[in-house]
Subunit: 438 residues, 2 copies
């Protein structure tokens, strides 16, 4: 799925590569700042980061995709309305408070947009708000207003590394991907690691381009790009109330080849969709499930999702345990409820390229067991260290490599296929979400 096959020996090597990706396209400025506040809901001080992305000139060429959760955050409700606006001039991101189902949440978020707009010489309707953090907490609007001048003063950076860092919550490292097209580029940055301190799984993805692609084309291209990337990925099966993908064009570079642009957009989305689980909370292994020979793409994707969302199989992978019975159990759980009549006689399953199941039964022995275990060990990002004071913490804050646990599932029935990306389940995940207290 990823266009690259990188490996990093140190945090410094990873940061150097990030800098090569994070070159801001023409026509944008970014700024960041942070602030302290006391939530109304708990009696302690919290820290929030603010991130601004501002266009040199407002653009009519933008597109967005939002969560399908039935309780969307205020920024999602506002973002949907913004799609009808003639132009946007900036996006603003805050972490720590997601502004989901908070009393008067939409009104407060619109006040925040108005404050940002006033500081930038825009209309409130030209600001795209984005929030990630604790669900139910109210936005500390006064403290955010007070911090706004510092964010505006910092505008003008040429790199997105600070912005990609500023939107992080439980992410271990910033995530930026770039594709060059003609004289311009598509650059995306993303956050999302499962949940946030410890409250919410939110994926925020911002795609910036200087290539002049009209609004209608951007919107037509974004939906399938998101569908084939972020919608084929799961860290812990919990659809956030705030998931957002924004695509903004500054229009500063002509785009003579829309197809090349579309391919670049899709590649950046696919790369980021693999970066997210690789930096998922407590993730030791990334899973890549390639389902083929399916009667429909929906079914192929459903099988892949069932595998990467099976707690049993995720735990086995975490322990480098080639427990392929759990893999078949996960496939059968999905098919038994969704397509119980399917003819499974031609089903073939491989793990790490090694065939393990065909003609209706397993083919396992001690030699296969050793080969499968070796494949899992090769795909491991890190082993647990600790716990220290009862809490497991990841020992690295960069991705050592881009290898995956490779699972092939061929139904032998039809032409449809899908690739689904997922992650294992570890002590670090439980520590992140049970051992820390909000």
């Amino acid at each position: 799925m990823s266009s690259s096959n990188l490996s990093f020996s140190s945090r410094a090597a990873h940061r150097a590569w990030l800098a090569s990706q994070a070159i801001l396209p023409a026509g944008f400025r970014v700024g960041t700042t942070s602030l302290s506040f006391t939530p109304a809901e708990v009696a302690k001080t919290a820290k929030m980061d603010l991130t601004l992305v501002v266009l040199d000139r407002p653009t009519s060429d933008f597109a967005a995709q939002f969560t399908r959760n039935s309780f969307p955050g205020a920024p999602v409700l506002i973002g949907r309305r913004r799609l009808a606006e003639p132009s946007v001039g900036a996006l603003v991101v805050n972490n720590k408070v997601s502004a989901v189902c908070a009393p008067d949440g939409v009104a407060v978020a619109e006040q925040w947009c108005a404050a940002v707009a006033a500081a930038l010489g825009l209309q409130a309707s030209q600001v795209l708000p984005n929030s990630t953090g604790v669900i139910g907490w109210r936005m500390p609007i006064e403290a955010m207003r007070a911090a706004l001048p510092a964010a505006v003063a910092s505008l003008g950076q040429r790199s997105l590394v600070d912005a990609a860092t500023s939107i992080m919550t439980t992410d271990l490292y910033p995530k930026v991907r770039r594709a060059a097209v003609g004289g311009g580029s598509v650059v995306g940055f993303a956050k999302g690691a499962g949940m946030i301190e410890p409250n919410l799984a939110t994926m925020l993805v911002f795609l910036l381009t200087d290539l002049a692609v009209p609004r209608a084309d951007l919107r037509r291209m974004l939906a399938p790009a998101v569908d084939a990337s972020f919608n084929c990925m799961s860290i812990d099966s919990d659809t956030s109330t705030s998931d957002t993908v924004l695509l903004l064009s500054s229009g500063q570079v002509p785009c003579p080849d829309p197809t090349a642009f579309q391919h670049a957009l899709e590649q950046v989305c696919r790369d980021l969709a693999e970066d997210l689980p690789r930096n998922g909370e407590g993730v030791h292994h990334v899973l890549r499930v390639q389902v083929s020979g399916a009667p429909s793409e929906i079914l192929a994707r459903g099988i892949g999702k069932s595998v990467v969302n099976s707690p049993l199989f995720k735990c086995a992978v975490c322990g480098n345990d080639p427990n392929v019975g759990r893999l078949v159990c996960a496939i059968g759980k999905y098919l038994g409820s969704s397509a119980p009549q399917l003819d499974l006689r031609n089903l073939r399953i491989a793990l790490g390229g090694l065939p393990i199941f065909q003609n209706g039964s397993f083919h396992l022995d001690a030699h296969a067991e050793a080969a499968l275990r070796s494949h899992l060990e090769q795909a491991e990002l890190y082993a647990s260290v600790g716990p220290e004071a009862g809490i497991f913490r990841p020992p690295v804050d960069f991705p050592r490599h881009e290898r995956c646990v490779e699972i092939g599932i061929d139904l032998g029935l039809g032409p449809a296929a899908a690739t689904v990306i997922g992650a294992d389940l570890s002590h670090e995940y439980v520590s992140e979400n049970a051992d820390y207290r909000s």
Copy 2:
């Protein structure tokens, strides 16, 4: 859901209560034994337990419900065929090897039935086989045959405690529930804790009665009893390839009141369905989600299942963290994909009886936070101790109480309701399924 509200201060107190439940109904005998074998798939010795339940006279009055997983084990495939037989005389259970998708699995399981039948003076078609354990491994038929005389010799116990213990895998304690009806009883015993050493989530439930209820009535009553109990319960969302519920009547006691029998059957099923997650792998808290005001029972159950299967919410509960944002996220995840047009303005949510959400937003403050946390602490079965040598193990092998984390979700839309039982997600679960190696 449970008909009782028990608490136990010690393993001995729990065992004394179990003995009061485990009185074998008239017309049955039970026997157990164990054996050692070397699997063909891995180079080490393993232990297996065998359990026999034999009727004094074969009965035509039996019913069964089986897994809907698309890769059912050989015993499930055989059990489905047995439903058409005129009578059955015994059921046999083995753990350690589940006989799922093993080469020649059905043929070997039928050989095993024939061996059991020969030892008991029955036909092979009168034996109901049941297996739970590693998926993909072959049954060690020779070693099992050799152990059969010892199991037959032990037949005749008057208590089901040994049998309920013999079918266990990762269960911490045996599970038996009894309801008296007229001069007879319905007694059920069950196993299932998530997965098995560490391979498979299997629920096996055996319901025995001495009341004379005809086959057609048993089958008519069993489906809704299972639907309202075991089908409303989840430990880790992974549907086993071997789930089986068997109901056998010896017919030795007249049954003048079929309705009373049906209620007793339903009660035993509901009690066992709550016992299973209470003894689920690594479970610190049992969750009881009562959904009401729903337009349909399917929707009510779907909401409850989404809550108890949310890794985020499960982790929060494990940590006694009243992270109610995750609860709303889990509800919205399900409704957003299954009923996106539903009017949610009347939605009310309570945790531990305390209203936390209504009129579209949360109502949270530091006082509510403390009350919610106290409710979670009261429902905790145990706190983590350790890890020792990197592995978390539960510090108790009996249930301290029957309290649940009580979640109320009222959609305010219709007459349908459902109660769903689930469990939290802990380090002990990860240790059970990642830190041990098969």
